[in-house]
């Protein structure tokens, strides 16, 4: 462990941000312990750690969402206590949260100035706000009109609006919590150039990401947390991703991806010339028994829409779906579940789990028929939940806790358990590793492999090329709502996938 105890000379200016012995306990449990760090103007500090390491808690303390249990925060040598997000904002601290803070029904510029509207007398200065919003968006290289309706934007677009919002507030300290998870590689590049520009202007950035390569690339230093403790503070120039991963996990990481398994010849799912109004057209593919089929493509290429259409969540306007040799209408999620399809969607919080329910009712929700005759058999639900908790290693603070209180990785395990409980033969996983840490990812990869071994076919939708390439023998690439190509064996390479995904080269 490296301890950083600067003793600056008396005439040196104090650092922009000094975190002095910050600790935080929830209900008597320490989640953050004695964090000390000084960050200078214009520095980009990476913060990494597994789920539950304390990253989010640290950020939330700075952003005025949680008060620290102990310790002080100093800005330019002065002790400050941002007790509310508004107070933090006044100090020049802005946080771009993982879950966006945007009102979908408002225009982009209205969101950017929400709570900080510009006025001429009592009248809103809409023209000036639009102008400023346009400048901010242009400087981000984002092609978004200030008057566009926010709800119509893609996830990447909303991300850009959040950043533009921070720019317009003249922030000195910018906190970015996993800003790149929803972005494509090109958008990430744009974001990085913006970060460099902000750095040049003297803005300090705290950057949290699970993607270590990115952290190494953009950050000056990196703070590694594990179980609430500081494990290391290192210059990114003097370390590499393997060392960072080792610090995070506490052990060496060997090969992350399990061995790929050859599928059976039997075709379990055949989708033929499938189309929907607006998004998908002419999508044709086959899935074999025990296969892990990768689906790659840029954001907006129709991957999620395809999964939702197959699951009966979206209306199909053309084409047929054949499950195990029988044509199925799949007009509702119910009929899809009856045909032994399962779908783990990318939005765990809004589509996956009921955050206020406890673990057992979440696990049984899609398969409740199994647990009831006239009355629910709650003890059976609990027994089954315990079995899954053992099998997947689900940890919860208390058996009666709502899943809201579980960490992201554990929530994901509950979500997987929920669909395993329906006994699927075909499982569609949409970005299953988003926002979970290295260890949990590895567990999930091995789990998918074990499913394939037992004859369950998987469709793995992912934006992380490495993941699709590492897991799948066959990868289907989508672009603009249709299949732009299917790669197999040796041909599954990053270049080939990108070529098909972008249609360039």
């Amino acid at each position: 462990m490296q301890n950083v105890t600067h003793t600056p000379a008396d005439d040196a200016p104090p650092p922009l941000l000094k975190i002095d012995g910050i600790a935080k306990a929830f209900d008597g449990v320490l989640v953050l312990n004695n964090i000390h760090i000084e960050v200078a103007k214009g520095e980009i500090l990476g913060i990494i750690g597994e789920n539950g390491a304390g990253k989010s808690t640290l950020l939330k303390i700075l952003a005025g969402i949680h008060p620290p249990t102990r310790g002080t925060i100093l800005i330019e040598g002065r002790t400050v206590s941002p007790n509310t997000p508004r107070a933090a904002g006044k100090l020049g601290i802005t946080m771009i949260p993982q879950e966006f803070n945007l009102v979908d029904t408002l225009a982009v510029f209205e969101n950017i100035f929400l709570g900080h509207e510009k006025h001429i007398g009592p009248i809103l200065a809409k023209g000036r706000m639009k102008q400023r919003a346009r400048e901010a968006l242009d400087s981000l290289g984002a092609d978004i009109a200030p008057t566009a309706v926010t709800g119509d934007l893609s996830v990447a677009g909303k991300q850009m609006v959040e950043i533009a919002k921070a720019l317009c507030r003249k922030s000195r300290i910018l906190i970015m919590d996993e800003p790149t998870t929803a972005l494509s590689e090109r958008e990430t590049e744009v974001l990085f150039s913006v970060m460099k520009e902000l750095k040049r202007q003297g803005v300090m950035i705290l950057f949290v990401s699970h993607r270590l390569e990115e952290v190494r690339k953009i950050c000056d230093r990196v703070l590694v947390l594990r179980d609430g403790y500081t494990i290391s503070i290192a210059d990114t120039a003097k370390t590499d991703v393997y060392e960072m991963a080792k610090w995070m996990v506490g052990r060496e990481l060997n090969q992350v991806f399990p061995e790929k398994i050859a599928p059976d010849d039997e075709v379990v799912l055949r989708v033929d010339r499938l189309g929907t109004r607006g998004t998908l057209h002419n999508v044709t593919f086959e899935l074999k028994k025990g296969e892990v089929l990768g689906v790659a493509g840029l954001g907006g290429s129709g991957r999620t829409e395809l999964a939702e259409t197959v699951m009966g969540l979206r209306r199909r306007t053309a084409g047929t779906i054949t499950v195990k040799g029988r044509k199925r209408s799949l007009r509702s999620p119910r009929s899809a579940v009856r045909s032994k399809l399962g779908f783990i969607s990318e939005d765990r919080q809004r589509q996956g789990l009921i955050m206020d329910f406890q673990v057992p009712p979440n696990i049984t929700l899609a398969n409740l028929r199994q647990y009831s005759t006239v009355f629910l058999r709650k003890s059976r639900e609990k027994d089954r939940a315990r079995e899954y908790a053992r099998e997947f290693g689900i940890k919860s603070p208390d058996p009666d806790s709502p899943v809201r209180l579980l960490s992201g990785g554990n929530q994901q395990k509950v979500y997987v358990s929920k669909w395993m409980d329906t006994g699927p033969e075909i499982l569609i996983l949409d970005e299953p590793t988003r926002g979970i840490d290295v260890n949990a990812k590895r567990d999930l990869y091995y789990f998918i492999q074990s499913l394939a071994k037992s004859g369950i076919s998987c469709i793995l939708i992912s934006s992380e090329l490495e993941e699709v390439i590492g897991m799948c023998r066959r990868v289907m690439v989508m672009r603009e709502g249709t299949v732009s190509g299917v790669l197999e064996g040796e041909d599954v390479t990053e270049e080939n996938v990108m070529r098909l995904a972008t249609g360039i080269g």
Binding site: D27, G28, V29, L30, L313, S332, P333, R334, A336, V337, F343, S345, R350, Q351, G352, L353, I354, M355, D356, F357, P361, L365, A366, L368, R369, Y371, S372, V374, F375, L376, K378, P397, D398, K418
Partner: protein
């Protein structure tokens, strides 16, 4: 740390309505001698049972994230239909049974109308039931020409005025129905689906739950409980007024549900809480009468209690955030 994790904190939120009821009861006993009689208590129970039964059904609607404003007008219409059926069939037991059947069926049908329009039309339930509130009242007024529906059977009268097990029949029906509804909400698949839909419609849909059906049925349940109340009210008075019956029932029913601890945004509900909420309102009303507070001011107190209950609920959830 392990010990702290195991130590269960007292779940204040869950017991708050019951604690409030006990305090209210003790205070009422202390300050009013007239309050301290079993006869008064059974009276209170009878008085609250009419809107209380409606509130039981309302609990399902609110648990699923909806609202039903039409229950008051529906009571007048359904009560009217019951009495018309009674008079058409004649005298004796058959007529009474026919009237009861008509009340339940008519209530269910009216509820189904609310449910279908809400689900199929994708219209906010507030608007739909605001509309049907007006429709039901106006149909009742039209049929009775703004007068009363008057029963011609003497046997009918006995349901609403009778006693069984030492309790007035309406109170007994109220408590019995509460047990049945509690079991449906907590121990059946349907009840679980109602809470799931109320907590998150999207998660429910992605979990292959037929969200539309689940919602629609909550309005039918609400309609059936209105049918029960309409039957009890009309038989107690042996008549029902098309203009004044059921006015503001929706307020009392929603108030009972909210005071009982059910979340207005859905997903969290308690049937016994609703019973407690109804009784709390009943005791407050009773005490205001005992203390000779102007009847015109009773609405003020009721309104204040509702707002306070929601305020407490809101602070609880916000404190956790």
């Amino acid at each position: 740390m392990a010990i702290e994790a195991k130590k269960r904190r007292f779940d204040y939120a869950r017991w708050a309505p019951l604690i409030a009821l006990v305090i209210l009861f003790v205070v009422s006993c202390a300050i009013s001698a007239d309050f301290r009689s079993v006869r008064n208590w059974t009276n209170i129970l009878r008085q609250v049972s009419y809107t209380g039964i409606i509130a039981l059904g309302m609990t399902f609607v609110i648990a699923s994230g909806g609202i039903d404003l039409s229950v008051g007008s529906m009571t007048a219409l359904v009560g009217g239909v019951a009495i018309l059926t009674l008079n058409r069939v004649g005298d004796g037991q058959t007529a009474v049974v026919a009237a009861a059947g008509a009340a339940l069926l008519c209530g269910a049908a009216a509820g189904l109308l609310n449910g279908l329009v809400t689900v199929k039309g994708r219209i906010a339930p507030f608007i739909v039931t605001l509309g049907t509130m007006s429709v039901f009242r106006s149909v009742a007024l039209y049929i009775a020409q703004a007068g009363e529906f008057r029963a011609e059977s003497e046997a009918y009268h006995e349901i609403g005025t009778g006693y069984a097990l030492g309790l007035p029949v309406p109170a007994l029906v109220f408590l019995g129905l509460a047990i049945v509804f509690h079991v449906i909400l907590n121990n059946t698949r349907y009840g679980r689906y109602v809470l799931a839909v109320g907590a998150s419609e999207d998660v429910a849909r992605y979990s292959a739950i037929r969200v539309g059906l689940v919602k629609c049925v909550t309005y039918v349940i609400s309609g059936i409980s209105v049918g029960v109340t309409a039957l009890l009210v009309s038989s107690r008075l042996n008549s029902i007024s098309s203009s004044s019956e059921g006015v503001m029932y929706e307020l009392d029913a929603i108030a009972a549900v909210v005071i009982g601890g059910t979340s207005m945004s859905g997903g969290k509900a308690t049937v016994f809480g609703t019973v407690i909420g109804a009784v709390i309102l009943g005791i407050i009303n009773n005490m205001l009468v005992m203390m000779e507070v102007s009847p015109y001011l009773q609405g003020t107190v009721k309104g204040a209690v509702i707002i306070t209950a929601v305020l407490l609920q809101y602070r609880r959830t916000r404190g956790r955030g």
